[in-house]
């Protein structure tokens, strides 16, 4: 029961990443693509936590923390580049 529900939620998360990929490809300006990148990374953070449960190893969550921190830094540095504050 639990594993079936988690299977379905993993598929829905992958579909969410695919939808934001559409915005990444189409997006008229570069900030649009940056928003799509942000949503993609946050969705794959939830996906990493799910993978950690499926493999039943707590140590994978360390990777998730690093992932969240570094993707945040990437979005901030590109924004500061846009507004000439770097």
């Amino acid at each position: 029961m639990v594993s079936k529900i988690l299977f379905a939620s993993a598929i829905i998360m992958l579909l969410a990443i695919m939808l934001s990929l559409y915005r990444f490809i189409k997006g008229p300006t570069a900030p649009d693509r940056l928003v799509a990148y942000d949503v993609m990374t946050v969705s794959s953070l939830a996906l990493i936590a799910l993978i950690a449960y499926l493999a039943s190893r707590i140590i994978y969550l360390d990777v998730a923390i690093v992932y969240g921190l570094l993707s945040f830094l990437g979005v901030i540095i590109v924004s500061r580049y846009f507004e000439r504050g770097l």
Binding site: A55, S56, R57, I58, I59, Y60
Partner: protein
């Protein structure tokens, strides 16, 4: 159909990323685009190496409560390619920083990022 498993899928992905990186390295005219192609080439090689070290249904080579220590040799994946890739990623960052600094100095000299303007050694 027996080829359809995790290590083969990631091996194909790695090979295709290598080819895409090589294609960018050879066809692009912008210096920064060439460096991006080089970084993709690097990533592809890392994916290929990690997927060659994968053992079927293996778990991470870190022995904590989830892995039986006495039976570790039958449960974990190969640690040696992972150690090699770990070294390679760090060296890749050093090389990328070095190439970007060279591009910066070249731009200060010629005010151009096009590779066709740097034809000093062309005959």
């Amino acid at each position: 159909m027996e080829k359809f498993n995790l290590e083969n899928i990631s091996l194909v992905i790695g090979i295709l990323v290598i080819l895409i990186g090589l294609w960018g390295l050879l066809t692009q005219k912008n210096l920064i685009k060439i460096i991006i192609g080089f970084a993709l080439f690097d990533t592809g090689i890392h994916i290929v190496m990690v997927s060659i070290g994968y053992i079927k249904n293996g778990t991470a080579p870190i022995l904590d409560n989830a892995v039986d220590i006495n039976n570790a040799a039958n449960a974990v994946v190969d640690p040696v390619p992972q150690a090699l890739v770990l070294t390679a990623i760090v060296i890749g960052l050093g090389i990328t920083a070095l190439m970007l600094t060279y591009v910066l100095k070249m731009y200060q000299k010629r005010k151009s990022l096009e590779i066709n303007n740097y034809n000093d050694l062309k005959w």
